[in-house]
């Protein structure tokens, strides 16, 4: 282990000692579930550990709050996605159902795509995916979605912006 890494773990160790209990209590108050709160708090510290420059953390509690809040949202959202995905599976022939492992991997990917496109309208998401995954032209997309070509172009711009923002603010 390098000196630098030692230093990093030392710093995070300090934060962990002084703020882990505080964070658990806070998340628990928001979620109303002590075990879930401990999971979230632990995962939060794992994310802090993965940060490129922990030495630059000036307000640990604000950072912990932000990360924990995001994890809560992600957890809820993942349940929503899984529920919706299972709904679509229920309508497909049994033979085409993926195995549990495949399903898990797919859900990971879906959660990532969902995060990139979060906040876009259903039509904007559809337009972007038809273009990126299927290579449809703006005109074909416009016909499918019953909107003008210039509207499709704006959906694309909205989506590019949203993806970019989601990428730079992980």
């Amino acid at each position: 282990m390098s000196v630098n890494q030692n230093l990093q773990f030392g710093l995070i160790g300090q934060i962990f000692k002084s703020d882990y209990g505080w964070l658990c209590a806070r998340v628990n108050r928001a979620m109303g579930c002590p075990h879930g709160a401990q999971d979230i708090a632990s995962e939060t510290f794992l994310r802090v550990l993965a940060l490129p420059d922990p030495a630059s953390i000036r307000e640990p509690r604000a950072l912990l709050t932000t990360i924990a809040r995001r994890l809560m949202y992600e957890g809820w959202r993942r349940q929503d996605l899984e529920r919706a995905y299972l709904e679509t599976l229920a309508q497909a022939p049994l033979a085409t159902h993926p195995s549990p492992e495949e399903r898990l991997l797919l859900l990971e990917t879906l959660a990532e795509v969902d995060r990139l496109l979060d906040g876009l309208s259903a039509k904007a998401k559809a337009a972007f995916l038809y273009h990126q995954l299927d290579g449809l032209t703006y005109m074909q997309i416009g016909e499918l979605l019953q909107v003008s070509v210039s509207r499709v172009q704006q959906y694309m711009a909205d989506a590019f912006k949203r993806c970019y923002l989601a990428m730079v603010q992980p």
């Binding site: 959202r77 991997l105 990917t109 299927d134 590019f160 970019y164």
Partner: protein, 317 residues
Amino acid sequence: MNGVTADEVIIDEAAQWMALLQSGHASPEEHQAFGQWSNADPRRAEIFRAMGAGLGVLENDKLRRMPRESLLHTLNAPSGRRRFVRNALSLVGLVSTAGLVARLTDVWPQPGLLTTSTGERLSLTLADGSALMLDARSKVLERFDQERRLLQLLDGKLLVDVARDSHRPFIVETSQGQMRALGTRFLVEQNDGQTGISMLHSQVQIRTRNGAVQVIRAGERAVFDADRILELRPSTGAESAWTEGLLEVRDQSLGVLIESLRNYRRGIIRVSPAAENLRLSGIFPLDDTDRALQLLAGSLPVKVDYHSPYWVSIDVR
């Protein structure tokens, strides 16, 4: 701070260029214009490159093989968080304990938080029967309990028609202070460290954050900051135009008008410094901003250039 703002503009512009170039229908002139745009600032080129590069997750085979209908259905799953907010609004009794934890600037997920986005106005009935209307790009937190009915206006504008409840006062709170009513109808807006309130019916008591008190009556308008009442005068009626989907200005600068229009228009509006200070009066439709831009081009010596439907620049003629 400046760097952040500049990046925001570049990201908007880069996304517009990306969408245009990927359409496959960009003209040679547009390609040239893009070259000029991107060469003028290395940060532009950098953001544009990153925007195109980072979509690796879409290469995933499993995702590509997934039937599109199933994929879209999943991604459009309603968000449990939003459901949570809706439920919280109907179960106000349960929300009150959360008030002990939450503060105005708190960042935790908050039940009772209502927001509107660009071009969106929201009308709803609160748990006590009061009618609330939110302007575009506004944010309000509803915190009712046994003792009082509190609405925290965090951003934007609201109109409230307060249902009578002689036991619980109705309070609208901004960063600058509180406005307290029993039963009445009034408008509140918050921006730039000031709060404006216009009374439509009955009366309200203002208490600024630092304790200045003022009662205002129907037909009056007051503006205050945390310390004191800055302005008290008869209301012109223009303040409530947004509730009808209109924007009413009387001898205001074009810059101020465009700022209001931005809440209703997606995309970029650029106003040149020379055009910004021109003054005008008039009534403009908020829900049809193309028409609004056309109207102001008719009443001022300006030209409105559409770089694309979503990228407009305004300059003096």
